[in-house]
Amino acid sequence: MLLYVARRLAALAFVMLGMSLLMFVVAHALPGDPARVAAGGVEATTEMVRIAREQLGLDRPLAVQYLLYLGRTARGDLGRSVVTRRRIADDLLEFFPATLELTAAAVAFAGLLGVPLGILSAVRRGRLSDHVSRLAFLFGISMPVFWLGLVAILVFYAVLGLLPAGGRIDYLLTPPPHVTGFYTADSLLAGDGQRLASALRHLVLPALVLSTVSLAFIARMTRSCLLEVLGEDYVRTARAKGLREALVIYKHALRNAAVPILVTIGLQLGTLMGGAVLTETIFTWPGIGTYAVSAVENQDYPALMGFAVTFSFLYALLNVVVDVLAYRLNPRVSV
């Protein structure tokens, strides 16, 4: 097991190198001019753009630029964003955890609601509740997150006045001292009840909205896996033995269906991380999605590469974790 994990982590390094090269090539193929953005946009004169280009080293051959980038990265310097003019490491440290917090909460909601709903649907297959659930799943997968978000704000903020319309924390409060970058966790660590409550209130709506994407998916996956398992001989035997239905489902059926369900949940985290940008925009959640989109629009090469390398690292790491968990749950799964 340890050897397996070590091998996977070693492979990560190659993944990141490959991603950086790929992103470098793609970024430079994009039409546009980061030198102009750096120089100040529309208002910059041609001369100022030329100066910015020299300052950023964009007038050098591509291979040289890439090697210089690798050299700096090895020394821990990810460069400076052309848009925020800040160190990219600082940008990533701020924006990545924001998205992770949102997507983790979304996937948690999706799992907590989706798995029981999937079980219900599987166990009551063919009944009205199954049909209603499946319709609800379809709604969840089909409804654009963008629209759902606006409706949610309208209902819960404008009409009911229960929850805030956006942001990660009340804008009058300074964020808690940075430890993980998760406002909820950091508030908890700092023992700050007011900030924790505010962070939770701000997290609920965007996480719920974002979870609709995964909820349906997880529920359907649970339903299918469970149905498949419920048709097996050993389940029929267990029932014949007179075991309580709850025991049949949880101890026997679900345990065997768990691996694919778990893998789905884990991978949803990765998928949502990449696709949270719409939710981030609606709820003014300053996360990595918005940051990456801005980097693409402004040809912010260093930011794009920093983002891509970090994202691929996290995604690959996530896969390793899911695999290890799957093995722990069901040792018959070969690694």
Partner: protein, 537 residues
């Protein structure tokens, strides 16, 4: 029948969840500052890239940073007349190569440092080293002399009537803060996210992606009225619908992004005031005069006659006053008007196209800026009318930086792969002088690909017009200069290198209890004068 004891066990869990939800909803009630008398909340249009007045976009500089930092002089409604800010008076030498400014006494930066002639010199050095932001304006200055503590002299490379108007972009930062935090980048890292200026407000904190919070600068030289705002929260809310909801709820007092469709409902709301002001920014449809068939003036005039402004205005819900000409009339002196020589007339257009030998089926390439609905809309209206004339318009969508690069590269190489005929372009009244429109957009020297390039995208090159503009720029008397600019304006209009589309209308949406909101023709859209604002009791 299977038992459902599975769900019996769920009931306590459901109860716990319900209680948790109620708790969370009830707790975390934030300190309520919205609607608080002395706090102003603004829904910003765009997050500033940087708070450094020497390294940010000029839009941010003029809109937001002008409340934190100040220049020596600013502009007034009348062209050629300037507002004393950090300088109280000034004189120019006879040859217009030296300007001497008398500085305001007793001014301090927010960190307590004195403002004086030496501070101006330090700021000059900084801008010349960083070469961003107001560099193009400041590099006109060859040298800065400290005459005495309260007097500074600028020596310029060459005389220019536009020089003084560019000085509104040159803002002063505290030399002490600069010295303490210079680092290896002339203090850019520090000034990016912190402030040390002479303006009415200073930065309290900036939470990226969330809010820029300013507080009163107690050392500000004008002093404060009892009704000035103590704090201004500029919130970054990127969605028009969200800004609208927050405005209606009173959580923000000024909304900078509002969709035009929402205006009728907002106008009916007694708690909201909608202020529409025309300002001197203009939208054009640029015509590439260096590429066939647009190199034939008859074709360009035909396209001008094919512009259906009424149709466009209707799409803009009536908020689209027709642009004046190459330069806004208001910049060319009192009483000046330019008659519309190109009324919407498809027959005339057809005739001109036939005369020029343009066959039906000819295709033009239009560059359309991604994310800008207004520019897309107007290009679509243009395309529709041309369709009726048998001329096809192909759209190529790209971001603004990409469009800039393509037009620049084409101008330099004439590569057919980069051909473009038409692009919508917005010119702001960043400087209060006709020079910023006519010279920067239509002089041979300002063609985009040249080292001296500015915004002559269309490759317009008319030596007679060049001479007029050069002479106007050397004429220090505003009246005499005006006459020359007017002549140039007329000549450019006759050549039609750019169809004047609309004048920009600033639509400010505020809570009704906000007082002091004023807009000037020389302002950029969404400019904020925080010092002037207050809340009615």
């Amino acid at each position: 029948m299977h038992s459902w004891s599975v769900f019996d066990r769920r009931r306590p869990l459901v109860a716990v969840l319900a209680v948790a939800v109620l708790l969370v909803a009830g707790l975390g009630a934030a300190p309520a500052a919205h609607g608080q008398e002395k706090v102003l909340n603004i829904g910003l249009y765009i997050e500033p890239p940087s708070l450094d007045p020497h390294n940010t976009e000029l839009g941010t500089l003029i809109r937001e940073l002008a409340n934190i930092y100040e220049p020596l002089i600013d502009v007034r409604e009348k062209i050629g007349v300037y507002e004393p800010v950090l300088a109280t008076s000034w004189t120019a030498s006879d040859d217009s190569l030296a300007y001497t400014f008398k500085l305001r006494k007793g001014v301090k930066f927010s960190d307590g440092t004195d403002f004086n002639a030496e501070a101006v010199r330090v700021n000059y050095d900084r801008v010349m080293n960083i070469k961003r932001g107001p560099y193009a304006a400041v590099k006109q200055i060859k040298a800065v002399e400290v005459v005495d503590e309260g007097t500074v002299r600028f020596r310029v490379h060459k005389p220019s009537a536009a020089f003084l108007s560019t000085m509104r972009l040159f803002m002063m930062v505290s030399p002490a803060a600069l010295r303490a935090n210079a680092g290896t980048d002339f203090g850019q890292s520090w000034f990016n996210e912190r402030t040390a200026g002479t303006g009415a407000y200073k930065l309290d904190r900036w939470q990226r992606g969330s809010v820029v919070s300013l507080v009163k600068n107690d050392r500000h030289w004008r002093g404060f009225r009892p009704d000035n705002f103590d704090r201004v929260n500029m919130r970054i809310i990127l969605e028009a619908d969200s800004q609208r909801l927050l405005l209606e709820q009173g959580q923000i007092d000024i909304a900078q992004i509002i969709s035009i469709d929402a205006l009728p409902a907002l106008k009916r709301n007694p708690r909201i005031q909608v202020v529409e002001t025309e300002y001197a920014g203009q939208m054009y449809l640029l015509l590439n005069t260096a590429l066939s068939p647009l190199n034939d003036p008859r074709v360009r005039k035909a396209l001008a006659h094919a512009w259906n402004h009424d149709k466009y205005k209707a799409l803009r819900k009536g908020i689209a006053p027709r642009a004046d000409g190459p330069a806004p009339n208001v910049m060319l002196g009192e009483g000046y008007t330019l008659a519309n020589a190109y009324p919407f007339d498809l027959e005339r257009a057809r005739k001109l196209l036939a005369e020029a030998g343009v066959k039906p089926g000819t295709t033009l390439t239009a560059l359309v800026q991604k994310g800008d609905e207004q520019k897309r809309m107007l290009t679509e209206v243009f395309r529709d009318e041309l369709d009726g004339l048998g001329v096809k318009v192909d759209f190529v969508e790209a971001t603004w930086p990409a469009i800039f690069k393509r037009t620049t590269d084409w101008s330099a190489t004439k590569d057919p792969g980069l051909n473009w005929h038409v692009v919508a372009f917005y010119k702001s009244p960043d400087l209060w002088t006709p020079w910023t429109f006519l010279y920067r957009m239509f002089h041979t020297e300002t063609q985009v690909h040249k080292p001296s390039g500015q915004w002559n995208f269309v490759g317009y090159a008319n030596p007679a017009v060049d001479n007029l503009m050069d002479e106007a720029n050397l004429t220090m008397d505003p009246g005499k200069a005006s006459a020359l600019w007017r002549k140039a304006n007329g000549m450019i209009y006759a050549d039609m290198p750019a169809i004047p589309i609309e004048k920009m209308v600033e639509i400010a949406v505020l809570r009704s209890d906000i007082r002091g909101y004023k807009y000037h023709a020389y302002d950029n859209g969404r400019k904020l004068y925080l010092y002037d604002l207050s809340r009615a009791k």
